[in-house]
């Protein structure tokens, strides 16, 4: 379909300008004209055209090449066709080096120009179709800014929809960068409280006293520096949702205070006598396993039970590798725009590197990696070389992550078994590789029920 495409013809000679415009109009394009480079740039700033026909030789001020460069500054992907009546190899080389898509000599053969325009429009049509399909795909796998087609994540999306309008507390657990805050926001914005405040506070960032004042507010003069009354996050979130991020880091005293608020929905400001009632839905998030913290005695069990009414465990990125291409493409699209970079897609090699990487920092690490690759990229496609730093980091051991839910004993057992396999059951060699005595290795093998060739 040509009718949707707009073309700008830039030529200081009226007869050239008008004859090309009329000819393109017959072909079904919507054509605008500009009689100078300056006018062309003004028009390009107002809207992007599918094709720019720019005369090379125009009066001083902005010649054809300068006009093209200005247009490309506005629209990095602009298709510019440079036209000239004075063809030389030098001008052609300059035009192409500066980014002209094509170079034509006036007068042009109609067949040639028609094929040229047709070819550019065909690519534009494919790019547009590609963009529409990508948007559709992203929308299909998108839930409140969270992208996923992983079955576990889809289950979480369903659960979020179900619980969104309840008042019950929610405990979101998952590794760093798995999107705990995004899920908390999704819960808030999917439910009845969407029009009320969503307030997030990181419990890890503040010392005990500060956090107490941050959560509950304080009265004037409550402590040195409390020069005026301050509302706390609980009050700010009244009617809405309060996210307590990194809840596992709060002190025992605050655990007691928090338990009281959750039970009674009432609290005192620091230094205050007036009891304040709030209607707040609390969502807690933690990267550490709270159940283990309860077992270790560092987290109150009664608070844990209060928080853990609805439990959401977010999988690590390694557990949802199928989402990596989807997420990486979305990051490239958003960040290339934000950073003003030309790159708009990932090569197959780059995707392979990303899918194979272990991502100890999860989705946040992936986002940072895409940003880093974009900053140093030069072309329109990010390839595996742009992500070479991931291989280097993995090589230095920074990429190693402790397997989820695996005890130290289990890790030891697996390391011993792998080493014995590598040494074909040679205990002496295996002990040397592990840096322990043979007797210690025998001892461990006995403990884990292993023979030289595997588990007995």
């Amino acid at each position: 379909m040509k009718k949707h495409w707009e073309v700008l013809v830039v030529d200081d000679e009226p007869v050239m300008r008008e004859s090309l415009a009329a000819w393109l109009a017959e072909d079904g394009y919507t054509v605008d004209t500009a009689e100078s480079g300056r006018e062309a740039v003004t028009r390009a700033a107002a809207k992007d055209y599918a094709i720019y026909f720019v005369d090379l030789k125009m009066p001083p001020g902005l010649d054809g090449i300068e006009t093209m460069m200005e247009i490309r500054r506005l629209h990095a992907d602009a298709s510019v066709i440079i036209m000239t009546a004075y063809a030389t190899v030098d001008t052609a080389i300059t035009a192409m080096k500066e980014g002209a898509q094509e170079y034509i000599v006036k007068p042009c053969n109609p067949e040639e120009i028609s094929l040229l325009v047709g070819r550019i429009i065909k690519v534009k049509n494919l790019q547009r179709e590609n963009l529409i399909l990508r948007k559709k795909l992203a929308k299909q796998y998108s839930f409140h800014d969270i992208l996923s087609k992983n079955p576990k994540m889809i289950e979480i999306f369903d659960l979020v929809r179900e619980i969104a309008s309840l008042r019950s507390t929610v405990l979101i657990q998952g590794g760093s960068g798995t999107g705990k805050e995004l899920v908390a926001r999704a819960i808030h914005f999917s439910g009845d409280r969407a029009s009320k405040p969503f307030v997030a506070v990181s419990c890890a960032a503040l010392a005990e006293n500060l956090l107490e004042s941050e959560l509950f507010g304080h009265e004037r003069g409550a402590f040195t520096g409390a020069v005026e009354r301050k509302r706390g996050k609980f009050e700010m979130a009244d009617g809405g949702t309060l996210l307590l991020d990194e809840i596992g880091d709060i002190s025992p005293k605050l655990q007691v205070d928090l338990l009281r608020v959750l039970q009674e929905r009432k609290f005192f400001r620091v230094g205050g006598n007036e009891e304040i009632s709030v209607d707040v839905r609390v969502i807690a998030a933690s990267r550490v396993n709270l159940q283990e913290a309860v077992a270790a005695g560092t987290f109150r069990d009664d608070l844990f039970y209060r928080l853990n009414v609805i439990n959401i465990h977010l999988p690590s990125l390694r557990e949802r590798r199928e989402d990596i291409p989807l997420l990486a493409s979305a990051f490239v699209e958003r960040l290339s725009h934000e950073l003003g970079k030309a790159a708009s897609e990932l090569s197959e090699g780059a995707l392979r590197v990303l899918v194979d990487h272990d991502w100890p920092g999860n989705v946040r690490e992936l986002e940072n990696a895409v940003e880093r690759a974009l900053v140093t990229s030069k072309g329109h496609v990010l390839d595996e070389d742009d992500f070479a730093f991931l291989r280097r980091e993995a090589g230095h051991g920074n990429g190693w992550a402790a397997p989820d839910n695996m005890s130290l004993d289990e890790i030891e057992r697996q390391v011993i078994m792998a080493t014995l396999n590598r040494t074909a059951g040679n205990v002496k060699e295996a002990a040397a590789a592990l840096g322990i005595d043979r007797s210690t290795l025998y001892d461990r093998m006995k403990r884990y029920g292993m023979s030289r060739t595997g588990v007995e």
Binding site: E18, S19, P110
Partner: protein, 180 residues
Amino acid sequence: MKAIRLVRVGDPSPDLVDALVVPLAEEFGVPCSIDVRRIDPLFAMHPERQQAHSSQLLAEILRDDGGGDHLLGVTSLDLYIPILTFVFGEAQMEGHCAIVSYHRLRQEIYGLPHDGELLESRLVKEAVHELGHTLGLRHCEDWECVMASSHAVEGIDLKGWEFCPACRTIVDQERTVSAL
């Protein structure tokens, strides 16, 4: 469109001009006749290119407002517009004037023996095509439609001289409006 008048530009073959009358009348469903006026194209000739500037000839034909008729210039001269090496014809988009040349429709141009029937067929297609532009029709994606874009005789030979259903609808609507 109420009627079509054919305006001779230079000295086109009377037989070829005559050959346009019936097909154009049938295709557009309006009377078609040969105008008494003949235009001297000398003023529009480019001395180096040895071609006639079609836009200037269109402007000359337009000195007659047509009185509601559509005017089609017919010429044996090679036509050009400044940006292109040649054109088969040119039309005033959504206007009432067009021009068509049969210079490059002749087999002799391509080193082939004369073929009168083929030349007539190509000229009719180009004449219908240019008049189609005056009714607001753009190039059609249907390669068999007379409004399909063709920049070489091979393309003209491929398409028919009739409008596709979509273009036909616009032509018929235009005729109905003009008849009111």
